[in-house]
């Protein structure tokens, strides 16, 4: 029941003796603001030569001078086109369907362009295949306007022309061919039918050519397993909407597991319908997005995961394995197995263990279950990398067996664990070309840097899944003198075709089977009626040498999953601490590290931005003497640790104590610690790739405390709840199904009561209200509904909001000072049972629920609530209260209410008193402490002409000293209304959108007009699960939430 739970946002809050938490409950700051510090002490003030009178004179003079200077308006020039393109009307947005395929993120997207500039990425609703746009894809538009992009081809440090590039590289390639030396194409996963064709042509022209596909974050074991079983190199598709029981062993399938994009399907099954919803059991070591969303989460180390998986196999499919799992985990595994077994076709199991055996076992279990959610017939093709091939390439290069190397979409000098070997090998090649958008780590050591275009300037095609195609088209003329890899291949093969013509040709002959290419291009997606064969041009190395630890042998057709399970157990040995490397939803594999939106995007779990860090359990932190502490401003400081894997040490890794981290395990995210091709501000975190040995995310490590204190930009303890813990509501499926939401005793969504004339009255009663209610029944009345059940916390909405509303980036230091500008934040709450002192007793009472945790780690310790908390995400933006506390306190009426339900903020009227922010119960108002645009102190995208191209021309760029907040995307609702007025028609449900609701691929956010009684949001408002944030305050918000229901019922 919601009211019995204690919610907390950081471990600090669990410390009853913590003075900080107590003070923060009452005050905005822990300490008195140290005015002396910036005023200086009295003595120095007195000795100063500037008297008060002088000071006033200066102020007076500068004010007068400034106002006089402002009197003369500037002359503004306006330059129209000479010949206006027919498709461009100034002030009207155009949308183009295209595809992102950067090797890590693959998605069909819509690109909004204004005056020919792409300004925003949106979901392509025609694309039913695979994924919506995640936070990184939403942010990718900013990469186009990166001021550090390579602006033309380079030879070493010299800028050369493409003509010179062509002559020289053609000559060298021909020389290499004549000398019979090997040419290697080292590329990202393109999954592109036309590129495959092109590479084949390149091979046939130059003969001794090897194509190696390299994924920075590899899924090679899963691909190997799938290939061994189904003879195609791909990844099984999973549709989690069809699964009622989901068991995941170390797979963060709501994050980037196997390319990601499973959250939409997952979210569908999470909404209780007819008293049913899916049940999700997660076994994992790091607290991941999937673990946070799970109904039951079992923390265990990577080696225990292997055993657990083998055990699951033996219990579901058969056979026996001997494991030495601790008793409580063993019990949990047994229960999970019986639940999966019971679910039968409705069950599905996924695993993220980077081991062929583990992947084989998972496939076998799903096959055995005959799972509806499991689809091996249309494999996902967006990961093609092969670990063995990459390892062999590096070895060959080092041995001087490679004549030339052409790289595209990869940055091995940064992402390879053995980058030094690669560098050595690179020096031995006669020709090295890197296609890159940046002068990155690899481009710097290559002979030629071929300036590559951004995907928004390129042509391309992608086969996301077998038979499911997506097209990439340019949405802007190339900003710089760039050429894409495929175009260069065409040049090298002596073709005069453009890559566009080439794609069109290739499609016409094989894929389209008579359909229109232009239609496919307009839609951006095309599902082939006949599954065509994308020839796999990658030259994979079959690991005959047995260098890699695997039982896979492609020559053997029948692979015994039972043998795989036994091998899995055998390989599950651990020494000391175990490290799990992972990718963050914000940074991914690190190729967008120069993107300030993503750097400032707070990690959904740790709520920390501008960093990566070692996540460690509280117990391990204590034993290693690692500390986290909150300083006076509410910011977080942490110790450093040195992390060593097989003799490779990454020094000074900041440490965060992560509730829910499995004891004996630590986590560290990849993608940070870049050193080349990015601004100094973005050089954050440490590079974890050197620890990614043998492309395995699980490693045995030793950690050692290092000296120093790290300053985190963490928004965790900031903006205190003021002790209002009932901000989030949740219940269990059992209670949800059994009791009425208003039930006196068990009601799980009761309307708060207040005393009116000594009688308990619901707070929603009009008589309770201080204010007279306005008639809002006429016209539109906008409401936003957020379903906590389907919200996975992915954060796509946060970035979409950034892009739509010109939200500035403030930088690490400012975030530390709680001056973040995010209009939309996703609060993350940990929770556990209400009284922690009685854990033992509770453990006995609720053995079914909590028994597995009581003896966590096998040490018989009393349960620490931070060991395995439940997690809830709650996106919070301005609640657009009908009785808004902010409006009543504004002395200049800068914030006021519209009839359509939106709380308006007139920036030009605001004088910056910040009364409104102080009076807001939800802490959603953001103050511009500085001018963030065109200010060298904030050298992010808004400080250069190129970066400002991404700004939305319909939204004001706020200046210093004004308050801002979510406007409920009034520019979008007004646009929808205007379009309808111009067409002279009524507005249909679904037309009204906000940036966040449009970006939400899981359908958690629904926006619309509640005066339209047939609309989805109007129905949601009547739902039992609907509640308002802090309803007892009586603010009558226009943002509604749907109570989170956890399926704790064990089948």
């Amino acid at each position: 029941m919601s009211s019995n739970k204690k919610y907390w946002k950081s471990v600090e809050e669990l410390n009853e003796n913590s003075s900080i938490v107590e003070t923060l409950k009452q005050n905005e700051f822990v300490e008195e603001i140290p005015t002396d510090e910036f005023l200086g002490d009295k003595k120095t003030l007195e000795s100063s030569s500037t008297t008060r009178r002088d000071f006033l004179k200066y102020v007076g003079f500068s004010t007068a001078a400034a106002s006089l200077a402002a009197c003369e308006g500037p002359v503004i020039k306006s330059i129209p086109y000479v010949v206006q393109p027919e498709s461009i009307i100034p002030g009207v947005a155009n949308y183009y369907a295209t595809t992102i395929a950067d090797g890590f993120d693959f998605a069909s997207v819509l690109v909004k362009t204004r005056e020919g500039r792409p300004i925003k990425i949106e979901n392509n609703n025609l694309a039913k295949t695979h994924n919506g746009a995640n936070a990184r894809v939403n942010a990718s538009v900013l990469g186009l306007y990166d001021s550090l992009r390579v602006k033309g081809p380079m030879k070493g440090d010299q800028t050369i022309s493409w003509g010179t590039f062509d002559t020289e590289t053609n000559q060298k390639l021909t020389d290499l061919m004549n000398a019979g030396k090997e040419i290697v194409l080292l590329t990202q996963t393109y999954a592109s039918p036309s590129t495959s064709k092109l590479i084949s042509e390149f091979k046939s022209k130059y003969g001794n050519v090897r194509h190696v596909v390299y994924d920075a974050v590899s899924e090679s074991p899963a691909l190997d397993a799938f290939e061994a079983r189904y003879k195609t190199r791909g990844l099984a598709s999973y549709d989690f909407s069809k699964a009622m029981t989901i068991v995941s062993v170390g797979a963060d399938f709501l994050g980037d597991w196997q390319g990601g994009g499973f959250d939409a399907g997952y979210a569908q099954g999470r909404v209780p319908k007819n008293g049913k919803m899916s049940r999700h059991i997660q076994f994992e070591s790091n607290m991941s997005l999937s673990g946070a969303n799970a109904d039951k989460r079992v923390p265990l180390t990577p080696s225990q995961q292997k055993q657990a998986l083998a055990k699951l196999y033996s219990m579901i499919v058969g056979g026996s394995v001997s494991t030495d799992l601790p008793e409580h985990i063993n019990a949990a595994v047994q229960k999970a197995a019986s639940e999966l077994d019971k679910a039968g076709r409705n069950g599905v199991l996924v695993t993220g263990i980077q081991d062929v055996n583990a992947q084989l076992v998972a496939l076998a279990i799903n096959e055995h279950l005959n799972s509806k959610a499991f689809d091996p017939s249309t494999p996902i093709l967006t990961r093609q990398g092969n670990n063995a091939s990459v390892a062999k390439l590096v070895a060959d290069m080092k041995a001087g067996r490679v004549g030339g190397i052409i790289m595209s979409g990869v940055n091995p000098m940064y992402t390879l664990p053995n980058a030094a070997d690669f560098a050595e090998g690179l020096e031995k090649t006669e020709l090295s070309i890197a296609f890159s958008m940046k002068a990155d780590e690899t481009a710097k050591v290559s002979q030629y840097t071929a300036a590559a275009p951004h995907y928004l300037e390129s042509w391309g095609d992608v086969e996301l899944k077998k038979g499911h195609y997506s097209l990439m088209q340019p949405t802007i003329r190339p900003l710089f003198d760039t050429r894409q890899f495929q175009q260069a291949l065409l040049k090298w093969t002596g073709s005069t075709m453009s890559y566009r013509e080439y794609i069109k040709d290739a499609w016409g002959s094989s894929i389209l089977t008579g359909s229109s290419f232009n239609k496919a291009l307009q839609d951006g997606v095309y599902i082939g009626s006949i599954a065509t064969e994308t020839t796999n041009t990658a030259d994979d190395v079959v690991d005959a040498e047995g260098e890699l630890e695997t039982v896979l042998n492609t020559s053997v057709t029948a692979i015994s999953a039972g043998a795989a399970a036994r091998a899995l157990v055998a390989s599950a040995k651990s020494e000391g601490m175990e490290l799990s490397l992972y990718t963050k939803v914000g940074m991914g594999d690190g190729q967008q590290a120069n993107n300030p939106w993503l750097q400032e995007f707070p990690d959904p779990i740790t709520r920390t931005s501008w960093d990566n860090y070692l996540t460690i359990s509280a117990a391990d932190a204590k034993s290693n003497n690692l500390m986290n502490e909150h300083v006076a401003t509410g910011a977080l400081n942490g110790s450093y640790a040195d992390v060593t894997v097989n003799g490779v040490t990454v020094k000074n890794v900041p440490v965060i104590i992560q509730p829910g981290q499995a004891k004996g395990s630590i986590g560290l995210s990849l993608g940070y610690g870049r050193t080349a091709g990015l601004k100094e501000e973005m050089m954050t975190g440490v590079n974890a790739y050197p620890l990614y040995q043998n492309f395995n995310t699980a490693q045995s490590v030793s950690i050692k405390k290092a000296s120093g204190v790290h300053e985190f930009a963490c928004v965790q303890l900031q903006n205190t709840l003021m002790g209002r813990g009932d901000i989030i509501k949740e219940t269990t499926l059992e209670i949800f199904n059994t009791y009425d939401s208003q039930d006196h005793k068990h009601g799980w969504n009761r309307i708060p009561m207040v005393s009116l004339n000594h009688e308990e009255t619901p707070v929603t009663d009009p008589n309770v209200d201080l204010w007279d209610e306005f008639d809002r029944s006429i016209g539109h009345h906008f409401n936003l509904s957020i379903d906590l059940n389907s919200c996975t916390g992915c954060g796509a909405c946060v970035i979409a909001c950034h892009a739509e509303n010109n939200v500035p980036v403030v930088g690490k230091e400012e975030i530390r000072r709680s001056r973040d500008m995010h209009w939309l934040r996703i609060d993350r709450y940990y929770s556990s049972e209400d009284t922690f002192a009685e854990d033992d007793k509770k453990k006995d009472e609720f053995s079914g629920l909590w028994g597995d945790k009581g003896s966590l780690g096998g040490f018989g310790e009393l349960e620490n609530p931070a060991d395995n908390p439940q997690v809830a995400f709650q996106p919070v933006m301005c609640q657009h209260c009908n009785h808004a506390p902010c409006e009543t306190v504004c002395p200049v009426a800068a914030t006021s209410h519209g009839r359509q339900g939106q709380n308006h903020m007139a920036y030009n009227r605001c004088v910056g008193t910040r009364y409104c922010a102080n009076n807001c119960p939800y802490k959603v108002r953001r103050f511009n402490w500085f001018l963030y645009a065109q200010n060298d102190e904030f050298d992010y995208h808004m400080n250069d002409d190129l970066g400002r191209m991404v700004l939305n021309p319909d939204v004001t760029v706020r200046s210093r000293g004004v308050m801002e907040k979510c406007s409920m995307c009034i520019q979008m609702t007004q646009k929808t209304i205007l379009d309808a007025k111009r067409d002279g028609r009524e507005i249909k449900d679904g037309e009204f959108q906000t940036a966040c609701s449009a970006a939400c691929s899981s359908g958690a956010m629904v926006f619309g007009d509640i005066n339209d009684k047939s609309s989805k949001v109007a129905k949601l408002k009547e739902d039992d699960r609907m509640y308002h944030l802090l309803e007892s305050v009586g603010t009558k918000p226009n943002v509604q939430y749907q109570t989170k229901v956890r399926n704790t019922t064990e089948a």
Binding site: A70, C71, G73, V75, I76, K77, S78, I79, P80, Y81, V82, V83, Q84, I89, P90, G91, V92, D775, S777, I778, G779, A894, S896, G898, R899, Q900, Q902, H904, M905, A906, Y907, N908, R909, D954, V955, T956, V957, S967, I970, Q971, Q974, I977, L978, A980, K981, R982, D983, G984, R985, E986, I987
Partner: protein, 445 residues
């Protein structure tokens, strides 16, 4: 036909010199025409009516042909006579060409092919609908001689010349007057000095001044008066300071000099071109759009000279020069009748500058509300140079929203809300304000 003017300094449009452009069909050409017709009857089978021919020519031919200038197609003055003399082609050939030139090119007619190739293979539109009579009318019109007075010192050129002289004489008169006044002043001073000297010599004392308090001292001693005056001055200065401050940033009347002198009076006024022909994005976009140069060239490919009224300040040469500026900017070579590709975008000076924090959408007002452009932009069709007509202040916006009724007719979007709201407010017509048009967030986001 000359209208007198008052002074050059007074340069308002009312006093602009009106010079009526002489029509082609003036008296002298008529005489010429009669003579010509007598000749042409012997050459042509049918007689044509040049007046009708002119109309037909303007409708059908003028987009590609001019009488005396090579355009997309050749110059057509005396085309029939020229063809007959130079190539021995008759009216029948010409009619065939007009009705289906492409057919003749295809059929391999020698001269047809020659002409076709000469004009870059641009096929002439076929006019099968033209009757024989129509063709002879057109040809009659093309056969008219060049009006004689075109280059001469007719009435059109009188205007521009005289004012220049007037300008000089005016200045002369003023200068003379100034000198005269200066002399007078010097003379007076001299006379006074002389008189004083006389008085001194004769020993006459000037009358002693009254010993009573000077008026300023009396004023300073009267505290009440000082107070009242102080209050008065304070109020007055407050009034002026307030007035001064509130006009900061209000650029009503702003009339910058533009890189090309584009006369809205000629385009929207004299020629009656619809505003939205050029400012087409006003229909769909938040901006009205400054027309791109290709929109100008739609017409100005064939309008290479100005033939309308001229004034003292802006004569024909001036306007023709501005058209040349357009050609230079658009990269149009008038001589070759093609684009050179060397364009130079025009840097117009923006007149109406709404601050960034105010959102204004043209299509909302123009298309949905049906507001006339002139409501906000003033009588643009009379403006030789456009200036900012409205103050563009928030008060000005608000007043209009308070007074203007929403145009709800035939718009299904408004049906429901109009019915409900008008019932609520008890009115028939709803103003924009009642519709929510005064809410902050409707314009500021």
């Amino acid at each position: 036909m000359k209208k007198s003017y008052q002074s050059l300094e007074d340069n308002s449009t009312n006093n602009m010199i009106q010079v009526i452009y002489r029509q082609l069909a003036s008296k002298i050409p008529y005489i010429g025409l009669v003579i010509l017709l007598t000749f042409s009857t012997s050459l042509t089978a049918q007689e044509g009516d040049p007046a009708k021919g002119k109309t037909l020519f303007n409708t059908n031919c003028a987009s590609c042909h001019q009488l005396d200038k090579k355009m997309t197609g050749p110059a057509l003055r005396n085309v029939e006579a020229r063809l007959d003399e130079e190539h021995g082609l008759d009216r029948a050939w010409l009619s065939a060409w007009i009705r289906n030139s492409a057919g003749m090119v295809k059929a391999g007619d020698a001269y047809a092919n020659q002409i076709f190739n000469e004009y870059n293979g641009t096929a002439m539109t076929a006019f099968p609908q033209l009757e024989d009579q129509d063709i002879s009318d057109i040809l009659a019109y093309t056969a008219q001689p060049i009006p004689e007075d075109n280059g001469g010192g007719g009435t059109t050129t009188v205007g521009p010349v005289t004012p220049v002289e007037g300008g000089i004489s005016n200045k002369l008169i003023l200068g003379a007057l100034a000198v005269l006044f200066a002399l007078l002043a010097i003379a007076l001073v001299l006379v006074r000095q002389t008189l004083n000297r006389f008085a001194q010599e004769k020993g006459i004392e000037a009358a002693a001044k009254d010993k009573s308090l000077p008026i300023w001292k009396a004023f300073a001693q009267n505290q009440f008066l000082v107070l009242v005056t102080a209050i008065f001055f304070l109020l007055a200065s407050a009034y002026f300071v307030y007035g001064y401050l509130s006009q900061i940033g209000v650029d009503q009347g702003y009339q910058p000099v533009q890189p090309i002198h584009f006369s809205h009076k000629i385009h929207a006024g004299d020629n009656g071109i619809d505003c939205k022909y050029c400012h087409s994005s006003a229909r769909v976009s938040k901006t009205s759009g400054i027309p791109s140069l290709n929109v100008c060239m739609n017409c100005h490919k064939s309008i290479y000279e100005y033939k309308g009224e001229t004034t003292a300040k802006y004569d024909k040469a001036f306007y023709d020069g501005e058209i040349q500026k357009l050609y230079a900017a658009a990269g149009w070579s008038d001589a070759d009748q093609k684009y050179t590709g060397e364009s130079q975008p025009v840097k117009w000076v923006r007149i109406h500058n709404l601050p960034d924090f105010a959102y204004f959408n043209h299509s909302q007002h123009v298309e949905v509300a049906g507001v006339q452009c002139q409501t906000c932009h003033g009588p643009v069709e009379t403006m030789e140079e456009v200036y900012q007509f409205a103050p563009l202040t928030m008060g000005w916006c608000i007043n209009c929203h308070r007074d203007t009724n929403v145009k709800v007719e035939d718009n299904a979007y408004y049906t429901k809300i109009h019915e409900q709201l008008s019932k609520k407010y008890g009115v028939d017509k709803l103003t924009a304000a009642q519709m929510g048009g005064l809410e902050c967030g409707k314009c500021h986001y």
